[in-house]
Symmetry: C2
Subunit: 453 residues, 2 copies
């Protein structure tokens, strides 16, 4: 599915606006063979000659994008199976989310897929995208602009998958893949987590969950994953009827999910932007050893916000060691506040040295730096570069300023592997996720040891 040799676009259409046109337009960029399939098509589409049926294609196609209405699907999938195509994306809706008749149709489709060993993404999805391979199996516009990154976005809703991918772009990040699962006929959370855990482009997996009837499978896949997983479970208030009409799943009990995720080592968040922030922190940092956050700030006000928020998000602010305090006092006698946070009052050339001192403190597991951008000083890129790897701790950086004036310095931080954040609250929440991840991981590991004993 996510690493095909060639693609068949079944139901490809020359009519702009139709899904069969938009899907072909996006798929055509793929560097393997892409075949528009339509018995009534003639000539070429995006430079590729129409073929009548998937059975007319040789063995170089292993993924079918099905742009056909629901009722045509069983036959199409059968043909795909017989042609040796092992994966299919189904965009059509009108299945399990649409009442009894749709449910029966979905059951038939799954039977055919299972019988022919076809992995089936959807139905009722907008598809998936793997930016690094120019693999754009979505009918939505703009997906060619989604940048490559190291976060795999696995969303129950195709719409939310796109929301997350475009958001990630706006935040200057990117995705290793973005997948909308839709009705999860036979490719669900479990299969996606398994796959992206083994994917070398992926360093963090984020889940958008509305509800599933295989909660245990989902949780076990999370626990098995060596790649960090963060989950966003929607539906705390009653949105049952509307949600059911969407992907055919009840949103279920929010607290149960949250507790379940925690028990299986998965931190949860409560918004799309927090989900991507958490992935940026987890996917670009050494694994945190504990929940203790050392904060260095160049301005007190944002420092208070960050401190407050970390504590509420599950992190702790330990006292710094005597040695660290002495170092700080050495670098900068009379610094505004030498507790934790260390507050320098304003940006200064010594800022990077103070960050280093805090990062090297044994009481600190995670470092968070806040600094408003001051053009004359820039960011302490030299001090931050390689710091996380050297001390074996996550180092997060948040700032604010004029975007275009900061651009170069921000790029230098990204180059140095330092994850950056847009607001003090979001940086603190990301540190909180790291803190919870450390605690949950330790708990899960301890349980495994006691179970083995």
């Amino acid at each position: 599915m996510f690493d095909p040799s060639g693609i068949a676009v079944v139901g490809a259409s020359a009519s702009e606006g139709k899904i069969g046109y938009e899907a072909m337009a996006n798929a055509a960029a793929f560097d393997g063979p892409v075949y528009p399939v339509n018995p009534s098509g003639s000539g070429t589409l995006f430079g590729e000659p129409f073929v009548e049926s998937v059975s007319d294609i040789g063995g170089d196609v292993d993924l079918a994008l099905c742009c056909v209405p629901g009722p045509a699907l069983p036959d199409v999938l059968e043909e795909c199976g017989e042609a040796g195509i092992g994966a299919a994306v189904v965009y059509a809706s009108g299945f399990a989310e649409a009442g009894d008749e749709g449910e029966r149709l979905q059951a038939r489709v799954v039977d055919v897929a299972d019988e022919h060993d076809v992995s089936l993404l959807g139905p009722n999805t907008s598809g998936f995208v793997v930016p690094e391979r120019d693999l754009r199996c979505s009918f939505a516009s703009g997906v060619e602009k989604i940048p490559a990154g190291n976060t795999a976005v696995v969303a129950q809703s195709g719409g939310v998958a796109h929301v997350l991918a475009f958001q990630s772009r706006r935040q200057g990040r990117g995705v290793s893949a973005m997948v909308g699962l839709g009705n999860r006929a036979n490719v669900g959370f479990t299969e996606a987590i398994d796959y992206f855990d083994g994917d070398e482009r992926t360093d963090a997996i984020v889940l958008h969950v509305e509800g599933t009837d295989d909660g245990r499978g989902l949780l076990e896949a999370c626990r098995e994953s060596d790649t960090p997983v963060v989950a966003y479970k929607v539906g705390q208030s009653d949105v049952g009827e509307f949600a059911e009409s969407h992907t055919g799943a009840l949103t279920g009990d929010h607290e149960l999910y949250t507790a379940g995720f925690a028990q299986y080592g998965v931190p949860t968040v409560d918004a799309t932007d927090d989900l991507l922030d958490a992935a940026a922190a987890l996917g670009n940092s050494p694994e945190p050893a504990g929940p203790n956050v050392g904060v260095v700030t160049a301005q007190a006000g944002p420092g208070i916000i960050v401190t407050d928020r970390i504590q509420r998000a599950g992190g702790r602010l330990p006292e710094l060691g005597a040695e660290t305090r002495a170092r700080i006092d050495d670098v900068l006698p009379g610094v505004t506040y030498t507790g934790n946070p260390v507050d320098t009052g304003r940006p200064m050339p010594e800022f990077g040295e103070l960050v280093t001192a805090v990062a090297e403190d044994d009481a600190v597991d995670i470092v968070l730096v806040y600094e408003l951008f001051e053009e004359a000083l820039g960011f302490p890129v030299a001090s931050l570069s390689g710091l996380a790897e050297r001390v074996g701790k996550p180092v997060l950086f948040a700032t604010e300023g004029v975007e275009e004036e900061m651009a170069e310095e921000k790029a230098a931080l990204a180059e140095a592997g330092v994850p950056t954040f847009e607001t003090p609250e979001r940086a603190a929440d990301a540190a909180g996720v790291l803190a919870r991840y450390a605690e949950l991981s330790a708990r899960v590991a301890a349980e495994e040891v006691s179970r083995d004993a």
Copy 2:
């Protein structure tokens, strides 16, 4: 203070990096006279000749930016007062936030200021900016890029004032003014709220509050304000010691503040981005008559997020009227979900008509629209333009897509007065603030009636 004729920069300096240099660099853009004041200065600074003392300046200066150390301040303020300068910004720290000696110094400074009737912003602030007048009384870099808008930012912390102003820029908005109050020696929340309530550039006032010992004054100023006020009270967890070291105020009890704000008609939020979103919603909308939100979405997944979140934020999703349902069915038979939210499944040319139908429903007080951008269709600008004014209800719009592809259409929405939001959660939270504002305002009004009776 916020509308001066001319400015004196006391302690102006030719040494780059010094506050007296940076403050002069920023102030120099002002279109009235700006005087660098320094007895040891010679020649000119940013084209303006140095003067020895404020007493050497004629009567065209009414604001002094004091870039002098704390101990020099009583004399400087006395000279200002005697020269008829009625307002001063004090950047220096080392006052009430820094222990007993600082407290005594601050008391002396306030005495001098009061005696000479000088309004004093600070001490311990980075100042203020009024973009539309090119009035940049801050020493921070980049403030010349803060765009003009209709939100007044009043922050206890100068750092947070800058965070909010730059964030507002990043969000494509702007501020009528941004003010860091610092230690609030004699210009505090009360004075700032009073001023911006009467400021014709300001349609919403946002407060960042760490803590104050004049809670009642603050709350009463909020209630007196005809301009909507939203507050962000920081410090839910214990940050007491660090906060006290900052602006000399305890952060106090978060719940007490929140309840107090509610009682006086002020909705509260819990993050800097939410604060600006709330202002964008309140400052660019007719006053909402109630908490009932009609949601129209082009994608179910974001629609579920929005629905869930509105309900948790204090809004309600009423059932739409029979007439509205019939209109929707007329425009688009078999639309995916005709309850509230109305879900069209994907963007379509009829989308704007559906939004209009929902906006005109009597059960609806607030409208929220979510739509992923599809280039071939654009946004329903024609339908949305003037809609809020016509129906007398706020209409909020949230989207996601490729920024540069959406830019033109987003600008058209801004031109049409439609406030836009960056994530489904933030749009829903803004709708929640509108809902709470409507309920709180109604309660405050009812109390006033019963008190008068």
